[in-house]
């Protein structure tokens, strides 16, 4: 590790320079799959943030105890456990979100973002840095998903966070809540993001 980042840089990289969705192309499946509304995007982002944070913490704490050869299975067990906790808690306390996110909740476990951070960062850095890294990446991920969800919801359903600003029978660009719309919306958002982050 040649350069060490300040904690501020550590945090911000997850949001702009190394944004999981727009730059590193990690977590694409949920990014496209659950962003038919801003609320869903936000919910998924937060669920992922929770798992990322907890797994980074645990991995960073026990990194010295894990023999190198079994580290991937070990990480997977840790990550899968937190995903299962999220599953159970959502089903019990926020059933609406649980239903909306559906199959993508268990799929958080294969979100390359989380395994990626465990392997690339948490297993090599101290607890505090790992927490900051998780927060930065998780928030960057959440922002990306919420933005995508908002765009698709505004264009596709005429509402934002379920607040309709168009009458119920009005025609909207339904395309955007359908699969093709997800790809297209993400494509253009990526272009915008790249333009915006280059001027920084």
């Amino acid at each position: 590790m040649a350069e060490t980042l300040t904690q501020k840089e550590n945090f911000l990289k997850g949001i702009i320079k190394d944004n999981p969705v727009f730059v590193m192309l990690l977590g694409m499946c949920p990014a496209l799959g659950v962003t038919s509304s801003a609320f869903n995007g936000l919910g998924m982002g937060m669920a992922t943030l929770f798992v990322l944070l907890m797994s980074n913490i645990v991995v960073s704490l026990i990194k010295k105890q894990i023999p190198s050869k079994v580290r991937i299975p070990a990480f997977i067990i840790v990550i899968a456990s937190f995903v299962t906790i999220v599953e159970m808690v959502l089903e019990a306390f926020i059933p609406f979100l649980y239903e909306q996110l559906g199959i993508f909740i268990p799929l958080i476990v294969v979100n390359c973002l989380i395994l990626g951070r465990a392997e690339a960062f948490a297993s090599k850095n101290n607890l505090f840095s790992s927490i900051v890294d998780a927060l930065g990446m998780g928030i960057g991920f959440t922002i990306a998903l919420t933005a995508l969800g908002a765009v698709r919801e505004i264009l596709g359903s005429g509402s934002i966070f379920d607040f309709r600003f168009v009458s119920e029978d009005a025609s909207t660009f339904i395309l955007f809540i359908l699969p093709p719309g997800a790809f297209i919306a993400l494509a253009y958002l990526s272009v915008l993001f790249n333009k915006a982050s280059k001027t920084n």
Partner: protein
């Protein structure tokens, strides 16, 4: 940074410890969430009953009738609503596994004459924006007041009377099947009462 050596013993022990720790914590959380999960399910049922039946003052949930049927995996739940001990409607939970993404579970409230008072969707995992529109008033209102004995629950495409959901014919079919199941059970229980 000194890591443990990757000896067979170390590897096995580490994985074992982590697995046990995971198992214990998950079992613990499962116990904590079991209660709220069941409570949430019950609340949904009661809310659904209130929406599909006219006003009632008995306790349908406690007096639920379970009908075994070869059309469904679990027993079918039948709830009788009563106002001052006079029956004012029956709610039946119909289901179909033939939705786009599997299970579609709905609660149908029948008036004593067999017409549908209202339908509430209990469980579904259909495509957002397409199949999930089965919950919309626009789709559901075509069923209200109709008698399944006269109103064919298949989509118009299949020769029935139902205006299918745009781009979600499979969902519409599953919905119709679930409703039909509920109606058949309703007729059965009504006949056995007489």
């Amino acid at each position: 940074m000194s890591k443990k050596e990757s000896t067979f013993l170390n590897m096995t022990m580490t994985l074992l410890v982590i697995t046990i720790a995971a198992g214990v914590s998950l079992g613990f959380i499962n116990d904590i969430t079991k209660g709220p999960k069941a409570k949430a399910k019950l609340e949904r049922k009661v809310n659904a009953l209130k929406q599909v039946l006219p006003e009632f003052n008995n306790n349908p949930v406690e007096q639920v009738k379970l009908i075994k049927s070869d059309k469904a995996k679990d027993s079918i739940e039948v709830y009788s609503g009563m106002m001052d001990d006079k029956p004012i409607g029956t709610a039946v939970i119909g289901s179909s596994e033939k939705g786009y993404s599997g299970l579609v579970k709905i609660m149908i409230g029948f008036n004593p004459d067999g017409s549908i008072k209202n339908i509430v969707v209990l469980e579904q995992k259909e495509t957002p924006g397409l199949g999930t529109k089965m919950k919309s008033d626009k789709f559901l209102r075509q069923f209200r007041g109709k008698k399944p004995s006269e109103f064919n629950l298949k989509p118009k495409k299949d020769g029935g009377d139902v205006d299918a959901l745009t781009g979600a014919t499979i969902t519409t079919r599953a919905f119709g099947e679930a409703t039909q199941m509920a109606y058949d059970v309703f007729v059965e229980t009504n006949q056995s009462k007489n």
